[in-house]
Amino acid sequence: MIHKRNIKQSILFAILLIILLASFVLGISIGAVSIPPSEVVKIIFSHIPGLDSYLTAGLLPEHETIIMTMRFPRVIIAALVGAGLALAGATFQGLFRNPMADPYVIGVSSGAALGAVCSILVQSLWDIPIRFGIPAFAFVFAVATIFLVYNLARVGGKVPVMTLLLSGIAVNSLLSALVSFCMFFSGNQLHKVVFWLLGGFSGRGWDYVYIFLPYGIVGSTVIFIYARELNAMLLGEEPAQHLGIEVEQVKRHLLIAAALLTGACVSVSGLIGFVGLVIPHIVRMLFGPDHRTLLPAVALIGAAFLLVADVLARVVIAPGELPVGIVTALVGGPFFIYLLRRQKNSMF
């Protein structure tokens, strides 16, 4: 029985990988200048040392520039953010045993938003350009928010899930109000602020990949390490403790990891909704609740989903570009409702 299940899951994973790679190529080839997928593959492979001498023949240098400096980093960052948000969402849902939880539930997002808005306003008010001001401010504010919420929720050395959720909601609304306040006084910067808040990947180059990577790697590694603990904690914190898990410690590590990951995602891409809430649910329907398979699958599907959403964002009103957050909700929402209607008895 176990054997059969493993085979089925291996096949599913293989399909997911193929889908992810296909969306990579698709994401790179589609755009204002259309580049055929075969050429995309060739250009990418030509940058692998040892293969370059065989593949460089017949490639257009301007295509190579477009791909290597603009589109490639952009799809990479979209995939990373998709994976990161979905992982963080799955972690929060498991940790809180609550299907409504998403990466933004404990206020990290509004912290990051406030940071980004402050950065935009500071730069325009005093006319000082700050390199990577938005991601840096967003990230610092996000981390500060985590610590604020965590310490607010602490009761006698423990952090009960319920107080964590509630203090998260409280801080979230406070910070959102501050964001609105800043927007009210942002004058001609309003458009820039709104555009950032809606989320997107336009103009994100390799620098953003490098900004994201350290936190993304640390955060997701910690989450993967605790897959088994997350399973046990779905049964409740006390039962998990009786199975030998240091619940408070695991919870603290997972919270910080998921929040760091969320902070990194938000600071490079803005507020992209829906991915972190819905992808884990979709994957649970396919793979079941076991985090040891759920987490990798969530990361793969999250990445592929955001890649496709970004492609749509670029082509729907081309040559203009929609904020990707709008696309994720517009595409994902109906799909999720369809799944929900189909198996409404066991959501979580």
Binding site: G236, P239, H242, V247, G288, P289, D290, F348
Partner: protein
């Protein structure tokens, strides 16, 4: 000693739920924690299971403070089955039982053959192997309970703590789970500590009971030591009878019928029945119904009159089973007789064991106390002392006692009013 709970005060927030509780639990004990709702019995279990840190005092497990033991090491020694089942996610039964192996697994280690065997054994013992591929969120309460037990057994613990394991179960499963726990203790040397709502179930299966009342330990002892009418009255505030039909060590409680309770109000007239061998049964019932306060003695523990007296709440002067009536019992019996308004000598058989009862009655009769002798069976047919009893009996009949031919007649005399008398044949 396995657990040494030393003066533990424990609670949620500022107000302690449990005050200064001390209990010792030994290896292979089968201990039950009983008490009314909110008395702190679950709190006591949660303290032992290292969920709730005591405000004062400590819990030692094999001489080691339980808070100094890392969770993973503790989980290899002790498994806990909580009251809330929490199996709301579509894991399969096998997945959930496999989680019992978490304390034994190194991080990233795959389950070894040994782990699979432990899981298979745990599922077989609990009859959950047939459910292996079912999803736990779709199981019934009883099935979930067995899955939780299987998960606990997969931990291969030495200690099993259970918080009301039978709360969700039908009668047959309650017995099944308890019998399984008995077997686990016998075959694997498990120590079992459980919170139980059902005093009768606790009495039937536990070696001893810890009775918790309003946050402190009211009594600790074997079921027959702690389960008494008085204890139930004090701890639960209700009137019950304590019966012992199956086994003296394992009494059970029965709710008093309204009829006998009502008749018992305002009893002032006292009658002492010298009974034994079932001869007193009819007297007890009818005297109580007529509003008399009844005592009896000396009867042997386990005798049918003794059982009925227990059931009806009659005061008893008792001698150990199959033993002769001792000096001390005779003294107390005599005190009872002195206080009573009437003494009734039931038509009991006499042997060397209870001859002293006859002697006592004779003495009282000679002193002129009112004695009624129920002479319904010829003394020759119930004398097993080789004539000694018949001799005493003859003197008794001659000593100016009331001699009646039936229990009803005896009550006629006592009541002095025939209209009130409605005989009951039972």
């Amino acid at each position: 000693m396995l657990f040494n709970i030393l003066g533990v005060t424990c609670g949620y927030g500022a107000s302690p739920v449990l005050q200064d509780a001390s209990v010792q639990i030994h290896s292979r004990d089968f201990a039950g924690i009983v008490g009314p709702n909110g008395s702190g019995k679950s709190t006591l279990l949660r303290t032992i299971s290292r969920v709730l840190q005591p405000l004062h005092g400590k819990v030692l497990l094999e001489e080691e403070d339980i808070y100094d033991i890392p969770a993973s090491r503790l989980a290899k020694k002790m498994a806990v089955i909580p009251q809330e089942q929490g199996l709301n996610f579509p894991f399969t039964v096998r997945d959930v039982v496999m989680m019992g192996r978490i304390p034994h697994l190194k991080r990233f280690a795959k389950e070894s053959l040994q782990d699979l065997e432990a899981v298979a054994r745990a599922m077989e013992l609990t009859d959950t192997d047939v459910l292996a591929d079912r999803q736990v969120n779709e199981l019934s309460g009883g099935e979930k309970q067995r899955v939780l037990l299987a998960r606990a057994l997969a931990q291969e613990p030495k200690i099993l703590l259970l918080d009301e394991p039978t709360a969700y179960l039908d009668l047959n499963y309650q017995i099944e789970i308890m019998e399984l726990l008995v077997r686990l203790r016998r075959d694997y040397g498990l120590t079992i500590v459980m919170v139980l709502h059902d005093i009768n179930l606790a009495s039937r299966y536990c070696d001893y009971l810890v009775v918790v009342k309003q946050g402190s330990i009211h009594a600790i002892g074997a079921p027959h030591q702690v389960i008494t009418t008085n204890m139930i009255k004090e701890v639960y505030g209700c009137d019950v009878r304590v019966e012992c039909s199956n086994s003296i060590e394992r009494p059970y409680i029965v709710f008093n019928s309204e009829e006998i309770l009502a008749a018992g109000k305002g009893r002032e007239r006292w009658v002492h029945v010298v009974g034994g061998g079932g001869a007193g049964v009819l007297l007890f019932r009818n005297l109580l119904k007529s509003g008399w306060k009844v005592s009896t003695g000396v009867v042997n523990v386990g005798d049918s009159d003794w059982q009925e007296a227990c059931r009806l709440g009659v005061s008893i002067i008792e001698a150990p089973p199959f033993c002769s009536v001792g000096v001390d019992e005779v003294r107390r019996n005599r005190e009872m007789m002195k206080k009573a308004e009437f003494i009734i000598m039931a038509g009991i058989p006499f042997g060397t064991g209870n001859l002293r009862n006859l002697e006592c009655v004779l003495e009282e009769a000679e002193k002129g106390n009112p004695v009624i002798v129920v002479d319904n069976i010829d003394i020759g047919d119930r004398d097993y002392t080789g004539g000694r009893a018949a001799e005493l009996y003859a003197s008794l009949l001659k000593s100016g006692v009331h001699i009646v031919k039936s229990e009803w007649e005896a009550i006629h005399i006592m009541e002095g009013d025939e209209a009130k008398w409605h005989p009951e044949v039972s």
